[in-house]
Amino acid sequence: MTALLRIDDVSVHFPIRKGLLQKQVGEVRAVEGVTLSLQRGEAFGLVGESGCGKTTLARTVLRLVDPTLGAIWFDGTNISDLRGKALAPYRKQVAAIFQDPFSSLNPRMTSGQILSEVLHVHAFDGSIPDRVSELLSLCGLAPRFADLYPHEMSGGQRQRVGIARALALDPELIVCDEAVSALDVSIQAQIINLLEELRVKFGLTYLFIGHDLSVVRHLCDRLAVMYLGRIMETGTSDEIFSSPRHPYTQALIDAVPAPDPDGEDAREHVNLAGEIPSPLDPPSGCVFHTRCPIAFSKCATDVPPLQRLGGHHAASCFAIDQNKKTTDPKIRNAKSQ
């Protein structure tokens, strides 16, 4: 079975220009040599702290940003250099759900207008008003919502309209860029359940961008951890959460507080020192070595390759073998409490 979406060694660099002649004085390396593939019907998570390039990668997949290097293959077609009309078939098959339900809907259009516009532009055959009601009810909204403007709805209702818009053309792939991060926790749960329900019903494939590990774990079959534009570790949710092998993944998972306060107090924490370095001037070698608790001299000079660890699991770290026994039981303990 071929992958639905294959991100093939993609890098995205943004030039920084200065002065009258717009001379390039540097570049932001937002995404650096990322390779991923999504199977049809799976939910793939992309996690990392803010500024790690996960949103840029999502925007590249959506062709809002052009990749500097590499290619993106969708269903056997390289879509990374298609433009204008040639991109239209791809646009029909790929949809997006955005982070902020306040800014992702045009404030001057009712939800009915927002939904019928997509259908109209792509020459939907059938009754557009019927399809609009169908989409709204799929997302748990009464047909009467079609007459409401975004500011007349709550955040959760707006996000449902955003999801209905994404479903309008029966897409194959939906890119969810922090789709639940801006919502209240109770609403988050509803939206996550809705997303899961829709995935099963329509066999959708999700590329889910998030920073909330528990959400990603719940929703995604596989995930990749990004740091400073690179993939640190990838694998199934179980592999990553039960035996994280990269020190960055371990620190990320460790940062999720345990629900039980006694367990939380008893836990030892891996604290990362400092801030994420600037993508303007990324560290040499392994980009994580400046903050890594187990870094050694080689880490500052050589870039660790992504090493297979069996199954889907892979991590890019020189110290994977040493790192296995030290952290595994502790994370397990913290989680089992």
Partner: protein, 295 residues
Amino acid sequence: MSDVTLDPAPPVDAPQVKRKNRFKSVFARDRKAQFGLVILAIFILGALLAPFLAPYDPNEMTLNMMSSPSGDNLLGTDDLGRDLFSRILWGTQISLFVGVATVTLALVFGVLLGVLAGYYGGWIDMVIMRYIDLQWAFPNFIIAVYLVAVFGTGLLNVIVAIALAFLDDFARIARSMVLTLKEEQYIDAARVQGFSDLRIMLRHILPNAMAPIIVQATVSVSYAILGEASLSFLGLGVRADTPTWGLILSDGRSFISRAWWLGVFPGLAIMLVVLSINFIGDALRDALDVRETDI
């Protein structure tokens, strides 16, 4: 995939929303705006009905020169014995027409340039904005005077000259609005859905950018009326036999010490219309600006 039978979860019902007409509620509250509407309505009616309302031919010279306001000549007569009331009434047509036509022209082309510059950026932005900067370096009125001096006087030339002079304001406002709105996620959403640039600009950016542009338009209408008056005052306006407010004022200035009405009444007409339009503009800004607050 679409033939899956749908089994929707019990839908949440939509809240009942009472939509107030923002224009109605703002204009019902704002006394100044009401004043503006009434005054402007009177002037528009006067302009439309000038042929019926004017007691005399505005260009008919009589021997009854420089007579002060009286029952016969409501606002007095000028140095050639022409009835001032009739002249001002006829002048309203030209002045209001110049104001509205000028601003419409400036708005359409200015917004077009600004939206193109803001949306596409790069060299298109560079070329358009350097032209706008160039124009900005000169006072609007000097540009209008220059254009009329080059292309000659006459109604059309005056309108085009003032419109060109005002174009840069609209271009700048439109561009800055587009730059802000371009970052909104609904524009990303529109691009992801494969909408054309034209559709995104017309349906998604422009409607959200209109509030400050409309406010600028109302301010500009008053400046355009003043601009036409100033050009006429300098003898660069519409033809000499067409009574416009500026021309009446200009003709009367030499006699202002002996005939106060020649300065006061055309000046008052200009002031009232400009003031009314500004009041209406303020109210429009209130009605258009806050779109999120009337929940």
